[in-house]
């Protein structure tokens, strides 16, 4: 976030000084993509993604367990697909570079998709483990 802020301000200052940074909006947009996918992993760890937990919250016992297993399978399968698709794209992009910064390989910027997807899966697994542990300790407290 701070890099984004610095870059946007630098972009304005340089443009007003008559020496516009040609790479500024392309790099800023890529930073936003990185913030999106790496930040999404952080949000997955805290189960902070927007959902509709009202119905699942009313379930108990086996039905809750079944829904949680289906939910996690769907999430992990989707990011598994994204990681695979991202990897395929990285292979295709071999030898291509950014438009404004001709020395930066497009593979570096696009790597956020497969890496972010794998990190998302790991975050989801950790968050689920924590959830199960807290539920089982609640049950044993009772």
């Amino acid at each position: 976030m701070s890099s984004l802020a610095l870059l946007v301000v630098a972009g304005v200052v340089f443009r007003k000084a008559g020496a516009a940074l040609v790479w500024y909006d392309e790099v800023a947009s890529i930073l936003l993509v990185w913030l999106t996918y790496y930040g999404a992993c952080l949000a997955a760890l805290d189960r902070a993604h927007i959902g509709f937990p009202k119905l699942v919250g009313k379930l108990k016992g086996t039905s809750l367990l079944a829904v949680l297993i289906i939910r996690e399978t769907v999430v992990i399968a989707f990011f598994g697909l994204v990681a695979w698709a991202g990897w395929r794209v990285l292979l295709i992009l071999d030898g291509t570079y950014l438009v404004s910064l001709g020395w930066v390989p497009a593979q570096v910027t696009q790597s956020v998709i497969p890496i972010g997807a794998i990190l998302f899966i790991l975050s989801e697994v950790c968050a689920t483990a924590v959830l199960f542990r807290s539920r089982s300790s609640e049950r044993s407290d009772r």
Binding site: M1, S2, L4, A5, V8, V9, G11, V12, D25, A28, S29, I30, L31, L32, V33, L35, T36, Y37, Y38, G39, A40, L42, A43, D46, A48, H49, I50, G51, F52, P53, K54, L55, V56, V67, I70, R71, V74, V75, A77, F78, L81, V82, W84, A85, G86, R88, V89, I92, Q110, V112, I113, P114
Partner: protein
């Protein structure tokens, strides 16, 4: 048939609490595999990358960051003290201070939840100490924060602009009159309730106190002038204005006031990154579904279907209002804008409704949705700060929701309310 399956699948995934962003991605990926073939699945990665690569949306993390800096550097505290000196002499003055500061704070952060989280932790306990019921304190804080997103800058407006291809700056300008009007109406309602229940007067009006708190808050008061002046004056874009907000908040909070709490700011930044990612992942996966829906012409079909029923713009506006109010009951405003706006835009254009005007209607509808359970992020944040029951707060909040509905009706059916300034400055 495929559309029906897609809709049912999406609903089923959302009902079992799959995050909405991921549910969108899952149904879109399945639709691509079925309709276009498995060979097209690598496109998912390309669309997810390009979907999140929108320069205008950089404003979202930057405004969140500016709000975090304001809160960690004593700027909010000074604004509250100044508002208190100005309005504290009226019966129920602290509730008006809450409304005034809330509207002002939103001129920098652009987010209703940030507004409640930042100001609520100071103002709700202050109101309780003065003898206001905690339900009333939470209701005032919550509803005034929702109204605040109409006042520029506004994160929902930025999202709407990107999803509908509308000018962010024109949307910001269109929000000024409804925001100020709504603020005054809400203060009137707070005064009426305060007189009826005998809520206290905060302090006697003293020019000396107004002058001293103004002097203390003067730099903070320049923040919106710098940000909005830069944007409306055409000196910077909305995204760059957000960068400017960060720098101005650091200079005022860190250099002039010398009160920047770096530890609090770091925690707020992590939280801000998380908030940004949650919204942006929705934007990215909705691009995946949006591409598919556009390829099968769903928005055009929806428009043709409703235009077949009625061509009267007033009736279409009424239908859209009811639809967005219903959507707001169940969906977070960012999710609702991202999911629904691209689908209804062809209808809005076909009915001859100005997209900027409609942007205000959408923002207000979804703002009201943030006040109405079951899904009411702003209300829930205010209730958790006040440690009050959501339903008890809602019983008080209905008065303020009524004010928001009056503003919505004015904005919907008197287009001059949002559009006069836009016509004057940009058309």
């Amino acid at each position: 048939m495929i559309l029906l399956l897609l809709f049912v699948g999406l609903l089923a995934l959302i009902m079992i609490d799959v995050p909405i962003a991921i549910a969108l991605g899952v149904v879109a990926a399945i639709a691509i595999a079925v309709v276009d073939g498995v060979a097209f699945l690598p496109n998912v990665a390309l669309v997810l990358f390009d979907g999140a690569r929108k320069f205008t949306l950089i404003a979202i993390p930057l405004f969140i960051l500016a709000g975090a800096i304001m809160n960690a550097s004593g700027i909010s505290r000074r604004l509250i003290a100044f508002a208190s000196a100005l309005l504290g002499f009226v019966r129920g003055g602290l509730s008006m201070v809450t409304i005034g500061t809330s509207l002002f704070f939103a001129e920098i952060s652009g987010s209703a939840v940030a507004d409640v989280a930042a100001l609520g932790s100071i103002l709700i306990p202050a109101m309780e100490r003065k003898g206001y019921p905690k339900e009333f304190a939470a209701a005032v804080m919550s509803s005034s924060s929702t109204l605040a997103v109409v006042i520029p800058p506004s994160l929902p407006m930025i999202l709407y602009a990107v999803m509908s291809g509308t000018s962010v700056v024109e949307l910001f300008v269109a929000g000024i009159v409804p925001g100020v009007l709504g603020g005054l109406l809400m203060m009137g309602m707070a005064y009426y309730i305060s007189v009826r229940h005998g809520f206290p007067v905060e302090e006697a009006f003293r020019w000396r106190r107004v002058a001293s708190t103004f002097k203390d808050a003067a730099w903070a008061l320049t923040l919106p002038l710098i940000i909005l002046g830069g944007i409306f004056g055409g000196w910077v874009t909305a995204t760059e204005g957000a960068g400017l907000a960060v720098v101005a908040a650091i200079v005022i909070g860190g250099v002039i006031y010398r009160e920047l709490d770096w530890r609090a700011m770091r925690a707020s930044m992590v939280d801000g990154a998380r908030q940004t990612a949650v919204v942006m992942l929705l934007v990215a996966t909705s691009a995946l579904l949006g591409d598919f829906l556009t390829s099968v012409q769903v928005p055009q079909r929806v428009a043709a279907g409703i235009i077949g029923l009625t061509e009267n713009p007033l009736a279409i506006m009424a239908l859209l209002n009811l639809f967005f109010l219903a959507v707001g009951l169940f969906l977070h405003s960012a999710a609702a804008i991202i999911l629904v706006v691209p689908i209804v835009m062809p209808l809005v254009l076909a009915a001859g409704i100005d997209p900027v005007h409609f942007g205000l209607v959408v923002t207000l509808n979804l703002g009201i949705g943030q006040q109405t359970p079951p899904v009411a992020s702003v209300l829930v944040t205010a209730c958790s700060i006040a440690k009050a029951d959501v339903w008890e707060v809602t019983k008080v909040n209905v008065y303020f929701i009524a004010v928001l509905l009056v503003v919505l009706l004015l904005v919907s059916y008197v287009p001059a309310v949002p559009m006069a300034l836009v016509e004057l400055l940009y058309r």
